[in-house]
Assembly symmetry: D2
Homo-oligomer: 335 residues x 4
């Protein structure tokens, strides 16, 4: 299969997934969920905005929740560049492709660039945040899933190949991908900057929509504890998929829906990916027990439901994907 070209020398250095900004109806309900179940720490609350970070994060926020009376949306996903001087050439990269760009003033972030990517995803880039204490050794304060840090986003888009080519031209490595049979088409791609398998993941569906933000957890115990704390605190229905093991990326995972329906993944045990000689791993979704090595497939809504981006128009893929869902499995179909 022909893979897009990786540009190893773009004139800017995007370093990692940084933060996600979500709107929510009830800030207290969300705070309870993200601190006691996911295990994030509150950095501060200012008015209608709650800033959270993982227990190993010394940056001001990796999750920003804003109270809103509108239906829940993702306002923006954020990435880091190494230095502020990376922002101008990054702006030029987007400008050259006729994509929206604008400078923004965002609290607790250095100079920030707002852009829209090739799929319509609203992104922001900055080089720095306010530094706060890293709570990693405040062990007595760690709760629920003890989320260490934000790791990646998964985004649904109608044209995965286009998104893949765009990010590879910006220096993202393709580490793994799903491609059905001999279609030559991408069903999903893992794109990485920080040296593990993923900073941003795209799957084919109506989009762009945020499928989930993923937080790394220390041990398999914490994945179970997140679920158990969810159960103890009345969030039992929020456990939508798993715990289970991914084929692609190899992570142990669980997916939860927050009080507004935003999806979050808590996962651990993937791998370091920083050697160019290792080819991207190809998966065929038609082989469900490679993609989902044990247990039941995900229910249909895991594939189809996602958070719209605020004010962004949705498009359907040319051909709708037809994954092996739990519903098909129980009907004796596709397994």
């Amino acid at each position: 299969m022909n893979l897009p070209e990786l540009n190893l020398d773009p004139p800017f250095n995007i370093t990692r997934t940084s933060h996600v900004v979500l709107t929510v109806a009830d800030l207290e309900a969300s705070r309870l969920f993200y601190t006691e179940v996911v295990g994030l720490m509150v950095t501060e609350q200012t008015g209608d905005t709650l800033y959270l970070r993982g227990i190993e994060e010394a940056c001001h926020h990796s999750l920003v929740l804003k109270r809103s009376k509108e239906p829940p949306r993702c306002e923006r996903v954020g990435m880091r560049v190494l230095r502020e001087r990376d922002l101008e050439p990054l702006k030029a990269f987007f400008d050259r492709q006729g994509l929206n760009t604008a400078w923004a003033d965002v609290p607790h972030q250095g100079k920030t660039l707002h852009v829209t990517d090739i799929s319509g995803v609203p992104l922001e880039f900055c080089a720095s945040m306010t530094v706060v204490p890293r709570p990693l050794t405040q062990f007595h304060l760690h709760k629920g899933g003890s989320a260490l840090r934000i790791d990646h986003y998964q985004i649904l888009v109608p044209d995965v190949g286009k998104a893949c080519a765009f990010y590879m031209s910006a220096g993202f490595w393709l580490t793994e991908y799903l491609s059905p049979g001999n279609s030559g088409e991408f069903a999903g791609v893992f794109l990485a900057r920080k040296g593990n398998p993923h900073d941003i993941v795209f799957f084919k569906e109506k989009g762009p929509r945020l499928h989930h933000a993923a937080f790394a957890a220390p041990e398999s115990f914490h994945i179970m504890r997140a679920c158990d704390c969810a159960g103890a605190l009345g969030f039992g229905k929020s456990v939508e998929r798993g715990p289970g093991r991914h084929g692609p990326g190899h992570a142990l995972y669980v997916y939860l829906r927050d009080p507004d329906g935003h999806r979050v993944e808590i996962f651990n045990t993937h791998y370091q990916a920083m050697d160019l000689e290792v080819a991207p791993v190809r998966w065929d979704p038609a082989d469900p027990f490679r993609v989902n090595p044990w247990g039941l497939p995900a229910q249909r809504k895991w594939y189809q439901e996602a958070t719209p981006f605020a004010g962004v128009e949705l498009n359907e893929p040319a051909v709708r994907p037809n994954p092996v869902t739990l519903e098909r499995y129980l009907a004796g179909d596709g397994h």
Copy 2:
């Protein structure tokens, strides 16, 4: 609700769940499953019989697999009495109720009593087995779920109340039970001798059939590792339910189906139950998020499929149970 009477002074001392005897089609396939996935150790194989034990067990066997060309069956479940002299009064207890009893000569077991219980379950009792090394500190040999020991059986019977009264009259403590609404009827009972919540569990369904044998695992990690080894070795479809958390009994669990379809549970973290002042815990199955505190319900076949006992006739319950299955949940019913 009226609970049957507990006889604290029966003239015999049943100490614990001991072993289960299953027939299988392919001894090599079963051996792979039970050693690499469940993590049992092989004590020995003699002809068509394979004897296995958990990593903390110094007894000769807690699982006996016999090669058979017939459809897979459970031949018998076994329990221990403290001393051989407990066997005669135990025989008298069964004889008085007109139940079948017979002495048996079983390899690697002391004097053994065969009986049929009030529900038609074939049991055997013995006071001792051949002692073998306890492999608990052979850490480099521990595999898969690292099953520590057999813990309990779950058996489907049409009349749970009758089974409960029978075992309580033999000295089994009722620790937890499920009873719908104000029915005054038992949907399920946990009965215990060894000081934790269960040695034998009964649930209402066509029976008697063996729903599962349960093995305790050291840590939540081992529950995940059992699944992961299942996936790696081609047993991925065997993971039928979970990992999840039980309401009743509070255990973290996973259920797998062995190569013949016999169901096995690997679980950990329950509690000590040896104080008389603690009342049995009642659960209402109509409250699915107490009984199943997080995640999806079990699929229908988990409720309905089970292993027949060899040569034992099946009976239907007066009223079929109607649990909240995964199928009903996905159809929007009952949750």
Copy 3:
């Protein structure tokens, strides 16, 4: 080696280790240590007395702390009998041997018998306690070592053989013991009622003194988390020995000293012990890498320091033990 005789039919039924009563200087400091490091839950505080229990315990207390201006002492260790009617024959058992007995009125306990054992240890027995909620599924409230329940005591006495014979005559099983070379003498004994290796352990030293009370923890993770919470909260020096692995009993352990110097063990992964045909396991303390299978030996003070019982006279053993301490190891001696 000649082992004392086990009386399997005493006229009373002691079921398990129940609780320990300690005096402390600063109730707030102790509360912080036992809740945040060990992970016990507070049942209640009344005046100068703090009652705690493990996360799986439905009984009112397994640890009682009393504020005192005197040097820290253990007032008493407690055990359970099955029924109140076990207490009279138990009193007779102690009376016959000329040991002190008295009825006592103890808050939140049923009828309570105070006795002094053959080594001078002050014990109390009761059949019941006030029942309180079992916090096992309040996962969001579990802290530090998440101590599940009290498991056993270790007591230093000058004559271990005498203690062993006394308890075996009361129905305690000898599961493991240490005996040097061909001495025919006991250096240490594990004595059990509840079906695991130990309810009460005796080692030879000046005594009687309480060496430690031991609490079971769910997973190896919790043993590390207890240490990490100790470090985070300024109790780092309290970690006296381990984490490490015991030869005898096979547990993964850590020993901490509480703010008054009382020693507590947090441990997991031992085994079920309820089969008579399994002989007690013998260990020779002269073989340090069997008794202590990896890592460094314990420092001298772990062997020699312990909590006196309130008002109880101390006696020296005929011959002082000479264990392979960390000090001897570093001096190149004895390993």
Copy 4:
């Protein structure tokens, strides 16, 4: 304190710690230790050379063991560059400082550059290795510590400040350092390329010598299992320090000595370090309970013993360090 300058734009891109080459007396003994205790996988053995890798590594080797009749040595530590074309400017960097450089032909590695660093450490750099399967999901084959990957080296040198300045000028980030009181001198430095706290660590002692190579493990359970497998296989004495928790870097660790006395660390739970606004963390070794947050200090030999590099002359530091060792602690000194 004045920190050396970080060169963010060197004309080459060193990506990560890659591999270490050790000589050993008995290849079979080493193989047993590294596979069953550390949990590395054997890639292949060719004549007197054994190649191993971690369970998440798709590269041919991260540990190379060569049979030798000479006393055990470290031949070389290896690092990766992103592309082969990084090697020429890297050679020029060393050449300009009058340091030894040479091209080498190394099996299973791309074009390889041999150099000697500013402290006399023999290094090699390459851009690629033979790609082999990543055994991460062969869960049934994971053993002992289940070492995921090589993470970093710790090297003893007489002048830490000089080593620090040299590596920072080559693009290594200083993430943490130890500096006593107001000395303005470095006792230890953590230097990183791959986005976590360390690829190469220097501490002040007679050197250059390899103090240890460190491998990341998945969970705290695996740290304990490495020790337990060591104990079960007769390597119990090899556990030299820990398990414990580091202050600097925050990792949970254990140190073992392999059959030739080479030291290896197995650790987990550190943090991502890829934001420039986060200042290097300073530690004062005079505060032992910050540097070693709980438990006993390391014994003296942990500080002083290390593996010489083959054929490299040793130098003493101007002033010998005087750490708070276990020996000083037991003597009541320095804590």
